[in-house]
Amino acid sequence: MSAAAVLSVRALRVGFGASAPVVRGVSFELAAGECLAIVGESGSGKSVTARSLLGLAGANARVEADRLELGGQSVLGLTDRAWRVRRGKDVGLVLQDALVSLDPLRPIGREIADSLRLHTTLGAAARARRVLELLDAVGLSNPELQVQKRSGQLSGGERQRALIAAAIALNPPLLIADEPTTALDVTVQAQILALLEQIKLSGTAVLLVSHDLAVVSRIADRVAVMHDGLLIETGRTERVLVAPQHEQTRRMVAAVPADKPRGTRLSLAASMPLAPAPIVSARADSTRPTASKPDAAVVRETVVLEAIGLSHSFRRPDGSRQLAVDDVSFSLLRGHTLGIVGESGSGKTTTARLLLALLPLEQGDVQLFGQAWSSVSEKRRRRRRASVGAIYQDSLGSFDPRWSVGEILTDALGRALPQTRSARRSPENLARLTTLLDEVGLAATVLPRRPLELSGGQRQRVGIARALAGRPDILICDEPVSSLDVSVQAQVLDLLDDVQRERELSLIFISHDLGVVQHVSDEVVVMRSGRVVESGSAARVFTAPEHAYSAQLLAAVPRLPG
């Protein structure tokens, strides 16, 4: 195997400046026609590892290794000039989000032709021909037309294909793809993965770097799990995913929400020292957590929030109007979670803002507990706003940057509280804040800190605490876990599950991630281009979708084997 290895790395160490090394001794080999996936969470050192293989770890990086061989030749300590000859020819790189990974000022044809210009003696006409061939090979329809366009004029999938075309222009024996599908919609993601697999099958060695176990399981032959600068587990993909050996791998596998029944805990206890002890018994039989009153059945079916024929349109720059939400109806039952799922541009976020009465409705109505909600004046609505909380994807942006966590939560606890400094520090207020923080698994030490100083998971917990402060009946969560690492995502999903049960909350859960929606929802609404294409119980929609689009979405969802 070693003789045929396209890439051979032994004890790779990378550090920056005087700080501790980011990569602390990584070894792996990669053969032609093989795909190895390096999987890890943010900060694990996976991207730095990938970039070191191109000599692009950075100007102030210290790269050391016992062995670092590309195509059987050592590339340790190469000068930049020597590296340049190899980049693009011996190894190609595909980055995340081609909107910014291709020069937005230049046509994609020029970008792709650059590799040929730098490494071959082909003339302009020959280069142009080769570019068209390449675009055709990566499955871009109408190459003659597309070659003139710039990344901003192409769809996400098209420009990712163009970026791949630029990376494989010279047929490099090794292709490194760093989060190549991360910003893409799930159906496009599946297409790009298929393209990468095709490249692999043509004999190219593919090194895939990703945070998403489920995604890489589709095409990777082997998986290497990276954690804290080390490869903690390497093996055949099925073996690693079905029978993970290392604690951290088990944690990551457990955190993948798709196909895990509603109520199953995603985060293993060891990984969440801050969270309160889960109340397991209540969910043992996965029944709804309603009070055991005689009329429980009636209460269960109470509609708390109803959307009736919602429509909203945006004005385009040229003055015409575009429907963002078109005749959308659904109802949320007490204690249930309604998942809204759709790809980018499907109108999910606009729907959330309509539910929160932040946008004017053009048609239709939103009713809260059977009473008009969106059609009344803001003044009358304001008193009832406490019963509807919201959690946002960009939790950092949803906090006033000038406020500390203590100020944010004190403010959310109610206007009745005096806003003076001494009042904020009063024992009663502190007690209330501590209780609230305790519920979301945060210590009181975060109170004086600003959201900017917190981690993504901590911020989202503060966001949940703020939403809970007004004792709401309904929580509207717009992509609440989309920007979080998978293990943090698991903790936040578990936390939402806990608070929902304890407070008998009803949830609207909006996400592009079918796996997440499947895990959390009782009912599901599938949206596309502003319309509802299918709705029904999660169990039904996810097992026997009626609409072709739902089926297509479902088929594209990356799942773990087994």
């Binding site: 304001r382 706003r385 919201a390 960009d394 949803s398 000038r402 403010d411 206007r415 703020r466 007004g470």
Partner: protein
């Protein structure tokens, strides 16, 4: 002589590129200079005990020496003493002009940013028109109408900086108004007034402190320019621009008469820029 509006935008942008926060050499030097200028303005006799207007014809046109660090002028007045004593004129003019410009800018910018599309459109067109009087032109027009002098020059400089401030404040207001945290406050049931007072105004006005710091340096340069052109303070006032203007006649023989007052203008402007940016960076990361 760069425009303040552009400077401020630049500052805002450079604040985001994540430069290290430790106290740089430049910031330290600017701090010391700032302190020196402040003492010069508040208690000039502490740094230069002489009389800034005291003449000594026997010592006229003395080049820089041990007795007269910056030399003397045509009447034998000590340039160093005059420069130190002139600080308060220049600083007061600069601060006053900035206050006028910033005040007008706040009014115009807030009108445009808060009162809906029609007002915004109108104010924007008005600002566009004012921008067609670039730089000193608006100030010169004002002086044409109201005549030269320290007061008119100050107001004139304030006026000509106002459109730049207005544009920044409007942009800042619109950005803050559309921020996610404003929406979050609405969801929490806050009224428009509460949101305005607790979120929008503080987040819009806090950066103005930085703007003002940068602006004072700029305003001093402009006011000195007007004095130099004979439209502001007049000799023998120890205002820096006026001193330079007086030194112009003797440029071939007594370069120090022009050099040192100008040097102080430059140092003041640089100090203001460095301090303004430093404050900005700290506020952003605090």
């Amino acid at each position: 002589m760069s425009d303040l509006a552009q400077q401020a935008e630049l500052t805002t942008r450079s604040g985001q590129s994540g430069q290290p926060l430790r106290l740089g050499v430049a910031e330290g030097m600017a701090g010391v200079l700032g302190l020196f200028l402040l003492i010069s303005a508040v208690a000039p006799q502490f740094l230069a005990p002489g009389d800034p207007l005291g003449i000594d014809p026997l010592a006229a046109f003395a080049p820089p020496s041990f007795a007269h660090g910056f030399g003397t002028d045509e009447s034998g007045r000590d340039i160093y003493t005059r420069v130190v004593h002139g600080t308060q004129y220049s600083l007061v003019i600069g601060v006053a002009a900035t206050a006028i410009g910033l005040g007008l800018g706040i009014v115009l910018g807030t009108l445009a940013g808060m009162l809906g599309r029609v007002v915004d459109f109108t104010v924007n067109r008005f600002l566009e028109v004012l921008f067609a009087f670039p730089g000193l032109l608006l100030a010169l027009l004002f002086i044409l109408v109201f005549g030269p002098g320290v007061a008119t020059a100050t107001i004139a400089v304030g006026l000509s900086t106002a459109p730049g401030y207005a544009r920044i404040i409007r942009g800042q207001l619109i950005a803050v108004r559309g921020a996610a945290f404003v929406e979050a406050a609405t969801v929490l049931g806050r009224t428009r007034w509460q949101i305005l007072l607790r979120h929008i105004l503080p987040n819009t006005l806090a950066p103005l402190f930085v703007l003002a710091t940068l602006g004072v340096g700029q305003a001093i340069v402009w006011a000195a320019t007007l004095s130099y052109l004979g439209l502001g303070a007049e000799p023998p006032t120890a205002e820096w621009g006026a001193m330079l203007s007086a030194g112009r006649t003797y440029i071939t023989s007594a370069w120090w008469m022009s050099f040192f007052p100008g040097l102080f203008i430059v140092l003041t402007a640089v100090t203001a820029t460095v301090l303004g940016r430093s404050i900005d960076r700290r506020m952003r990361h605090a």
